[in-house]
């Protein structure tokens, strides 16, 4: 199902994702796009809607520059560009949460130019560890559910929500299983494959994504059982830190030079699937609690929990280096970076910072930097 072993191409990935969405539509289904992993997708799923995370495009920006300045991240500019070009016309709606300043204003620009379908701003609190903000989040999620029901004319029943929770939990559990498996049995699943599987989970029908994950895990277990995979040499193991990682060629280069990514705190990684929803009790309450308690994004305050997650991962003893993939103009991540990096280096873990705009231009330079970094890390082992 995935593009295994052929070299990752985001365009192909996107084409496949669009094909699946159109198939969903041709069966009478609705599709809603969204940014950020604070959108309670379970609610959309319970209303029978396919929710798709917007991951941008590697294409050049042609329409968005007339509407938004270039000092905003490519994820925002690319999504707007796709919308303006009509590439998202198949979607029945778009949900943009109030996370960073760019996202907040993106909603305004979106509304001014594409005020159609189910277009909603999800204005969530920033202080997620405070009771008052948690109450507000409960209200916001409740309102969101009512808006979905009203717009799509579908009352969401409790049992439907509970079912969606199970579907999403299964998917997240599988992603976590895959994560643990590749951490324990390095090399059994390539980093590229593993992260492509997360991108698929973010954009495909969940049931289909889970099928794929099950087959990947089964195949990996089979390999382990048959002991087919012989480790030729110890791999250099990395944690990848950042927001969205869609240009998986970075991982290909890491692997090419004998490295492997075993851990991450990405928005298109653990931050999406690490935490499950409680399956007992009131489903709306359980869903809200999950989004309150989940591994937080740097757009939430305080920022320690994500950092602790990284330190904990490093303390497991199998991480040799940290690669930061930082989206240009992403203020929340860029503010965290210098002190976070220093703390990691104080743990005697080398770091590499890569600037990305949904991809890295200058592949040769990138290859050299990654190769040099792997040599440095290996020297220190």
């Amino acid at each position: 199902m995935l593009n295994m072993g052929k070299g990752f191409d985001f365009r192909e990935f996107k084409a496949k994702q669009e094909k699946l969405a159109l198939e969903w539509k041709s069966n009478g289904g609705k599709v809603v796009g969204h940014y950020c992993n604070y959108v309670p997708e379970e609610i959309l799923h319970a209303a029978g809607i396919l929710s798709i995370r917007l991951l941008g495009t590697t294409d050049n920006i042609t329409h968005a520059d007339a509407h938004i300045q270039s000092f905003v991240c490519k994820l925002i500019r690319a999504g707007l560009d796709m919308g303006l070009k009509g590439e998202l016309d198949y979607m029945d709606g778009m949900v943009i949460p109030n996370t960073c300043d760019g996202m907040r204003l993106l909603f305004e620009i979106w509304k001014k130019n594409m005020d159609k379908g189910f277009l909603r701003l999800l204005d969530l609190p920033i202080l997620i560890r405070q009771g008052l903000s948690q109450d507000r989040m409960r209200n916001d999620f409740g309102l969101f559910k009512r808006q979905v029901e009203e717009y799509f004319g579908k009352l969401i029943l409790e049992e439907e929500l509970s079912n969606s929770i199970r579907v999403y939990n299964e998917n997240r559990t599988l992603l976590k299983e895959l994560y643990n498996l590749r951490r324990k049995e390095e090399g059994i699943i390539s980093s590229v494959e593993a992260y492509e599987a997360v991108l698929a989970s973010l954009t495909w029908p969940k049931e289909l994504s889970s099928e794929l994950l099950k087959s990947m895990i089964a195949e990996a277990n089979k390999k382990i059982a048959e002991r087919k995979e012989v480790k030729s040499k110890p791999k250099v193991r990395f944690h990848v830190s950042g927001s969205v990682l869609t240009d998986l060629r970075i991982l290909e280069i890491v692997e090419e030079f004998g490295g492997v990514v075993i851990s991450d705190d990405l928005c298109t990684g653990t931050r999406y699937y690490w935490d499950n929803v409680e399956e007992t009790g009131d489903p709306m309450k359980a869903i809200t609690n999950r989004y309150i308690e989940k591994l937080p994004c740097p757009c939430k305050s305080p920022n320690d929990e994500r950092h602790d997650f990284i330190f904990d991962s490093i303390r497991q003893g199998d991480v040799h280096g940290v690669i930061f993939v930082m989206e240009k103009y992403c203020d929340p991540h860029l503010f965290d970076y210098p002190l976070l990096r220093k703390q990691i280096m104080d743990m005697n873990i080398p770091t590499l910072g890569i600037e990305s705009e949904l991809g890295v231009s200058g592949q040769e330079q990138l290859r050299t930097r990654i190769q040099t970094f792997i040599n440095v890390v290996q020297g220190g082992q």
Partner: protein
């Protein structure tokens, strides 16, 4: 907000000369307080400063101080120092100036105006109302100084015609304020003095009211008695001293002078032809930009930055809710695009404005995004032309003074052509 450098002519208002004394006194007081062991809090823009005064915590403003540094034209080495410490070039230059000072290493540090910010801060107070930058920057300060950080969480104004937040939003902010009061009680080990707080709110409201009168007086008057450049130097006490007597006295005096000048029809420039609106934070390192246009008969008579970022009225009959409403509704950056347009459209009419200058400020996404939409809306719906200049509020690197001048000159020529065409037609 910043002190002005080398004015090419005297101030239009005598009262403006007092601004530098206020600034100097403020800095002397805060350094003396620090020396005496009194608590100092670093406050960000739009944080509830009246509460700090109510608890006898003196607020220092790293943001405002960065503007002072930029207007003293010493921002660059500090920005570069922050960048050398891995803070991205693309982050807000206010933050970079401050972090350049915080992380300064080695020789060559510029002499900091007023002796620098008092360090270390004892407490940090911030809010997301104007931007998330203030939260992320304050988290860095928290990690550096290991002191408590208080954050006022607030929703963004969805916008209604009368510019009022919803009751739920007000409730949320009121609850937050009460929580902050409890946190400050813990921090100071003192009981909250509500009466003192209400007095601070009353002073804040008076200053806000006077400031609005001042904005109206100079905006409505033809010719306008004072331009933007001078007024940017007069806003400091509204930024940092709301809740004290100082801004009330200062703005009372300024208002009276303006009343006299507008009655006498004494203009800031001899032959006022074009009235401009300035949108966004000024270029602190090049405030001349705001007065250079005066040679061509144009004058900036109104700025959203001066009117809708600092100060505001408070309904004192219901102090907590009144204060929450003010915090939520009087900040341009916390408004949605439609509301920003509605307010600009109203002010353009009230202040007889001919054209708008947008500063697309790479350091302030929250202020700047949406300008291309606003530009189009102003032209299509009101026939008001505008120009967008690209710059940064405090980082002079990459700024092209020549290009900006050319753009502004061409814009004034356009206004002239439009007027000529209009008078012919």
């Amino acid at each position: 907000m910043g002190n002005q450098s080398s004015p090419k002519k005297g101030r239009a208002l005598k009262t403006s000369y007092e601004a530098s004394t206020i600034l100097r006194n403020y800095w002397e007081t805060i350094h003396a307080a620090k020396k005496a062991g009194k608590p100092i809090g670093y406050c960000s823009g739009n944080a509830p400063v009246e509460l700090m005064y109510a608890f006898d915590i003196l607020p220092a403003y790293p943001e405002n101080y960065a503007a002072v540094v930029a207007s003293a034209k010493i921002a660059l080495p500090l920005v570069q120092m922050a960048e050398s410490k891995e803070f991205s070039h693309d982050l807000c230059s206010y933050a970079k100036i401050n972090l350049g000072e915080v992380f300064w290493e080695g020789k060559g540090k510029p002499e900091m105006p007023f002796g620098g910010l008092p360090t270390p801060p004892d407490i940090l107070l911030t809010t997301k109302i104007p931007c998330i930058t203030q939260v992320k920057w304050w988290e860095v300060l928290r990690d550096v100084y290991h002191c408590p950080m208080i954050l006022l969480d607030a929703p963004m104004l969805e916008g209604t015609v009368d510019n009022q937040p919803s009751e739920d939003q007000v409730d949320f902010v009121v609850d937050q304020l009460k929580l902050i009061i409890a946190q400050l009680e813990d921090f100071t080990h003192t009981k909250f003095n509500e009466e003192k707080f209400f007095h601070c709110l009353s002073l804040s409201d008076q200053a806000g009211g006077l400031w609005h009168d001042i904005i109206d007086l100079r905006g409505e008057a033809v010719p306008t008695p004072v331009g933007s450049r001078e007024m940017c130097g007069n806003v400091f006490s509204l930024v940092a001293m709301l809740g004290t007597e100082t801004p009330v006295k200062f703005y009372q005096k300024m208002k009276e002078e303006l009343q006299y000048k507008t009655w006498k029809k004494i203009g800031a420039i001899p032959n006022e032809k074009y009235r401009l609106l300035y949108e966004n934070i000024p270029l602190w390192y090049n405030l001349e930009m705001l007065s250079d246009v005066e040679n061509k008969g144009a004058v900036f008579v109104f700025e959203t930055y001066l009117r809708y970022v600092w100060g505001g009225r408070i309904d004192l009959t219901d102090p907590y809710r009144g204060y929450a409403k003010k915090i939520l509704s009087d900040v341009f950056l916390n408004m949605n695009l439609q509301l920003r347009y509605d307010i600009m459209a109203r002010d353009i009419k009230n202040y007889h404005i001919d054209g708008v200058v947008f500063h697309s400020n790479r350091s302030c996404k929250r202020y700047s995004l949406g300008y291309y939409e606003l530009k189009e809306m102003l032209l299509e719906r009101l026939g008001i032309p505008s120009v967008v200049i690209e710059a940064d509020h405090s980082d002079p690197s990459g700024y092209s003074e020549g290009n900006t001048k050319m753009k502004l000159d061409a814009f004034i020529e356009l206004l002239e052509e439009r007027r000529n065409a209009g008078s012919r037609g």
